[in-house]
């Protein structure tokens, strides 16, 4: 009833292959973008921007990157945190070496450094698969973490061994550093994420995305129909790491304002993997839903006792948060192993047939 594609005839190949072939989808995306770009900056508080929306957007981008690799190509990776770190430290070095270059350009450039490193650590994927590969990517994670501590050149020989983000301006407005307003940073993050995710969506419906999915579904069969596993897998690692690298650079420059090795440790990798799996493997929407849930849930849990008027020690709240988070993860996996994205698909089907049951 509400969401019906009946009567929307496609009269050309271009229309058939469009990114959003259904009118309701186009309207929906337009409304979401309008809200995100106009309504949110006008109304949201600094707290909402700084500790909810910017983190969710940045983590969504990282989750998108991992989803390209794990969800679409079927290569399980636990090195996400390391690749994000490469992006962040590369961006820091680039701003030091080229202080006058546009910061957006540098953030995107640092993604290429992450892509290069990701490709190198993707090399074992040609020989090994599944959980063996996951453990091999842990090597990347630990090695990179070690580099971020032991190579002082990366953090410009700071005593604090951390990235201290310099103030950069864009059209006379401070966008990074302590003086940048939350709204500016939010808009910049949102723009970069929107563009990159649109690119990912386009990548997925083209030749490259299809070869990735073929490799995921059965790599032996994919090889037999003429897909070069070698290049396909490495390309997946490169593109995925590019996204993670950009996310890492944004995390350091536009979200935290400073970052150290600890920000990109193994727990970060696991967190992103959670988001991808809870959100839905092989779904870009899922990356966003997963990031929102995994990031939002602890915030809600932490503030819930205060709203309900209960007085519980903060340590107890933290520990209970852990338990509840764990139980909810298991619960979500049992109820919907295909992730939140599948729930949205089911919802769409319901909207399609409403008010009839089927």
């Amino acid at each position: 009833m509400f969401y019906r594609e009946v009567g929307q005839y496609k009269t050309s190949y271009a229309a058939d292959q469009a990114l959003l072939p259904i009118l309701q989808d186009r309207i929906g995306i337009a409304v979401i973008l309008l809200i995100a770009f106009v309504a949110v900056p006008l109304t949201a508080s600094n707290f909402a921007l700084d500790s909810v929306l910017i983190p969710i957007l940045v983590l969504s981008l990282a989750a998108t990157g991992l989803n390209l690799l794990t969800g679409y190509t079927g290569l399980l990776s636990l090195g996400t945190g390391g690749f994000m770190g490469v992006g962040a430290f590369a961006c820091y070095k680039l701003t030091t070496i080229f202080p006058n270059v546009n910061i957006i350009f540098l953030i995107l450039c640092s993604g290429f450094f992450a892509a290069a490193i990701g490709t190198v650590f993707g090399l074992p994927s040609l020989r090994i698969k599944g959980f063996y590969l996951a453990v091999a990517t842990l090597a990347a994670q630990f090695f990179l973490s070690w580099c971020f501590i032991r190579i002082p050149w990366l953090y410009n020989y700071n005593i604090s061994a951390s990235i201290e983000v310099p103030t950069k301006t864009l059209f006379g407005l401070a966008v990074t550093g302590p003086t940048a307003s939350s709204t500016t940073r939010y808009l910049l993050v949102l723009s970069i994420v929107t563009v990159l995710v649109l690119m990912a969506a386009n990548l997925m419906r083209g030749r490259i995305g299809r070869t990735w999915m073929a490799v995921r579904d059965m790599d032996l069969a994919a090889e037999l129909i003429g897909i070069r596993l070698y290049q396909t897998k490495l390309l997946a690692f490169a593109v995925s790491s590019f996204y993670c690298g950009v996310a890492g650079a944004m995390m350091a420059f536009l979200w935290l304002g400073n970052a150290e090795s600890e920000s990109f440790n193994i727990n970060q990798s696991f967190l992103i993997l959670f988001m991808v799996i809870i959100g839905g493997l092989g779904s870009l929407l899922g990356s966003f839903l997963g990031a929102a849930l995994i990031w939002g849930l602890p915030i809600v849990l932490r503030h819930a006792p205060a709203y309900l008027g209960l007085h519980i020690r903060s340590a107890t709240v933290d520990q209970s948060t852990f338990v509840i988070l764990g139980v909810l993860i298991i619960f979500f996996l049992i109820v919907e192993p295909h992730g939140l994205a599948r729930l949205w698909q089911i919802g769409k089907q319901k909207l399609r047939v409403w008010p009839f049951p089927y």
Binding site: F131, A136, I334
Partner: protein, 318 residues
Amino acid sequence: MHILYSIFVDPFMQMAHAPDLLVQTLWDGLVSGVLYALIALGFVLIFKASGVFNFAQGIMVVFAALTLVGLNEHGVPAYLALALTVVVMLVLAIAVERAILRPLVNQPEIILFMATFGLTYVLIGLGELIFGGDPKVMISDQLGLPSGSYRINMLGGYVQLQKIDIAAAIIASLMVAGLGIVFNRTRIGRALRAVADSHRAALSVGISLEQIWVVVWFAAGVVALATGIMWGARSNVSFALEIIALKALPVLILGGFTSIPGAIVGGLIIGVGEKMGEFYWGPLVGGGIESWFAYVIALVFLLFRPQGLFGERIIERL
């Protein structure tokens, strides 16, 4: 030239000059290898029988040790606390089977892997809620574990062997031998191996999967308890121990996910390789390479044998 010298010549010169130090390093490596092997053993047990990559094994080690120490702190005598902890691990195994494995049967591996992550969070939270987050001292004296060390004069120097390490090695070998007997000689062990070979075939000859899973998770829990006691006796019992689970992963890929001898041999190789690498080659790059060197060793082995040293040969069919 100088770099090549310091990589390929100098460390071996050091070994030749101070053989007692070499023996000490080897011994330290073997001891930590035994502990890695024990954790890997827990992983392998569960992976073989249920195909679950149990990330929670590391936290089960901590949880078991915490329960033991926590019970003792509340005035329960040491051996009774030990027995009670075994009961707790049994309850945990039953709970895991009921709440996680049964509803998620036949789901993709990665979903089950994720579910064990959820379990990790639950156990971390529960452990801290019940027993507090401070590091605790393992009750090794009450349990009758030896302390102190032997000093052996040899090779123009001396080698120091901690008694607790020797005890750990003995207990580990007893446990592996025990598991070997259970696997090969008893009815339930044969059922376990049948399930490991094929879930469906095992079901069709009347083996109860649920029961087997409980048994396996319980066995992994007991292995975790032993590991926790040993590791806790060397350092404190705290959630920092969780990190050793990550150390066991390269052991797993080196030995193969499904092989018990693989876990043992892999553990020893990783333990020795890690200590030797840290001691002789670590200073070249500024030290602290222990965190990733094990993975590099495992990766090198993997490039030649993608299924691990003892893993079953991977046969792919269309």
